[in-house]
């Protein structure tokens, strides 16, 4: 056990790589999810078809297969990425497809009266989306996004198979040099668990912020009763 803990610099470097790939992948996936999710919720049949093709294709293919494809097959077609870029691309495209479904579903789930009210107030299509529909849809998106983020983080372990030095890869190195199989894998399982919990806390903070923004949750500091009732307090 102490042998394993002695190699903590390696573990920390690996964990940092895992966190980086997770965050880059999540950022890329989020952009794709918003783009294709909006396309899926639009009234144009062509845009909806684009959404369907993207979602069905990239949801159907396994993340690891995509990663192998970017890593081994694409260079043969003359497209060469750095290993990390290939991993981020594969993970982002895959989870972006799941995210796009979440975005589309959330926009559709905002009560129709909100859309009608925005029309009645003569909002343009852009204003309707930006000021009325998206803010409310965001509150619906965040919980499923939190789950997807954990899934995405877990999928990054696959990059160790294409020899990117993430946490799992470092664990295999440490296991080979110390021979302490059980301790090594137990330690990194715990590290992964801690990363997952930290990500969950971040998502929960974002959820609270969004709800407060929408006025669905009391302010951080309650307003004193005197101020709301308009009573004048003695100085």
């Amino acid at each position: 056990m102490s042998d394993v803990l002695d190699s903590y610099p390696l573990l920390l470097r690996g964990a940092w790589t895992t966190v980086q790939i997770t965050l880059y992948g999540a950022a890329f996936a989020l952009v794709l999810a918003l783009l294709f999710g909006l396309a899926g919720a639009s009234r144009s049949a062509a845009l909806r078809a684009v959404n369907r093709i993207y979602v069905e294709f990239f949801r159907g293919v396994a993340a690891l297969v995509l990663m192998y494809w970017f890593f081994y097959a694409l260079p043969l077609l003359g497209l060469r990425f750095t290993p990390i870029a290939a991993a981020v691309l594969a993970i982002g495209l895959n989870y972006g497809a799941y995210g796009a479904e979440v975005v589309r579903g959330s926009i559709k789930a905002v009560p129709r009266a909100q859309w009608e009210a925005a029309c009645a107030l003569n909002f343009t299509a852009g204003q309707r989306m930006r000021r009325v529909l998206l803010p409310q849809a965001t509150a619906l998106m965040l919980p499923p996004f939190g789950n997807l983020l954990i899934e995405l983080m877990k999928a990054t372990a696959g990059v160790s198979l294409v020899s990117i030095a993430d946490l799992t890869f470092r664990a295999k190195q440490i296991q080979a040099s110390t021979g302490q199989t059980a301790a090594t894998f137990a330690v990194i399982l715990v590290i992964y668990f801690v990363i997952a919990q930290a990500l969950q806390v971040l998502v929960r903070l974002a959820e609270r912020r969004t709800e407060r923004m929408l006025g669905r949750r009391p302010q951080a500091r309650p307003i004193p009763i005197a101020a709301t009732t308009g009573e004048v307090m003695a100085p």
């Binding site: 159907g60 293919v61 396994a62 192998y68 494809w69 296991q175």
Partner: protein, 217 residues
């Protein structure tokens, strides 16, 4: 580089072989996930707080750590403790264990969805505990969650490539081996990817039909 159709044709039988391994692992893993998930869901409702909380944290732990590392653990660590499993068996156990933590949540939601009146009626009829669960609650709970459970079958199918990490030559592993042999990775990995897409799209279509049959409302 151009696409080599002859080479592709020669690859197909081998890749189909890999697909068979993938499907076998998925189906057996799924059986474990269905059974074990129910065990977790029932244990979480145990009257003992210790049992309930332990199961809650264990499943939370398994659910938020990578399948690949769990597979390594089962395949490389368990032999030291006297349990030696072949690669495919270890893979099936790993998949089953990992996904049982998801199905447990699904069952739990299904059980909580069973109307209170059903429980009360079962108590009023003085049914034994066993019949309350197996005659009244579970049949209604499971029926509600069949579509969700089906989604996890497809999710699991797409996670089987991780088994190549513990030397199972499933579909992607076969494709990779073929590519490594000839140094032409494009065709095998592309075809493997297409197989994955075709199988998962076909199974989600089948699932949608199943959903209609089991729809409660």
């Amino acid at each position: 580089m151009n696409w080599d159709w002859n080479y592709t044709g020669r690859l197909i039988p081998d890749l189909l072989d890999g697909l068979r391994v993938t499907v076998t692992a998925t189906l057996f893993g799924y059986l474990i996930a269905l059974a074990l998930g129910l065990v977790w869901a029932l244990l979480r409702r145990s009257p003992s707080r210790v049992v309930g909380q332990t199961v809650r944290w264990v499943t939370e732990f398994v659910r938020s750590t990578p399948l690949l590392v769990q597979l390594f653990f089962i395949f490389y660590v368990l032999p030291a403790w006297g349990v030696t499993l072949g690669p495919l068996t270890a893979g099936i156990v790993g998949l089953g264990l990992h996904y049982s933590t998801y199905t447990a949540e699904v069952y739990r939601a299904g059980i909580e969805d069973v109307p209170r009146g059903q429980w009360e009626a079962a108590t009023a009829l003085n049914l034994p505990r066993r019949r309350v669960w197996f005659g009244v609650v579970l049949p209604q709970a499971v029926r509600r969650v069949v579509p969700t459970l089906g989604n996890y079958l497809i999710a699991m199918f797409k996670d089987t490539p991780f088994l190549l990490g513990i030397t199972v030559t499933e579909l992607l592993g076969k494709a990779f081996d073929q590519g490594a042999h000839t140094l032409k990775y494009l065709e095998p990995i592309t075809v493997a990817g297409l197989f994955f897409i075709v199988v998962s799209i076909l199974s989600s279509l089948a699932l949608r039909r199943l959903e209609k049959r089991y729809a409660t409302d």
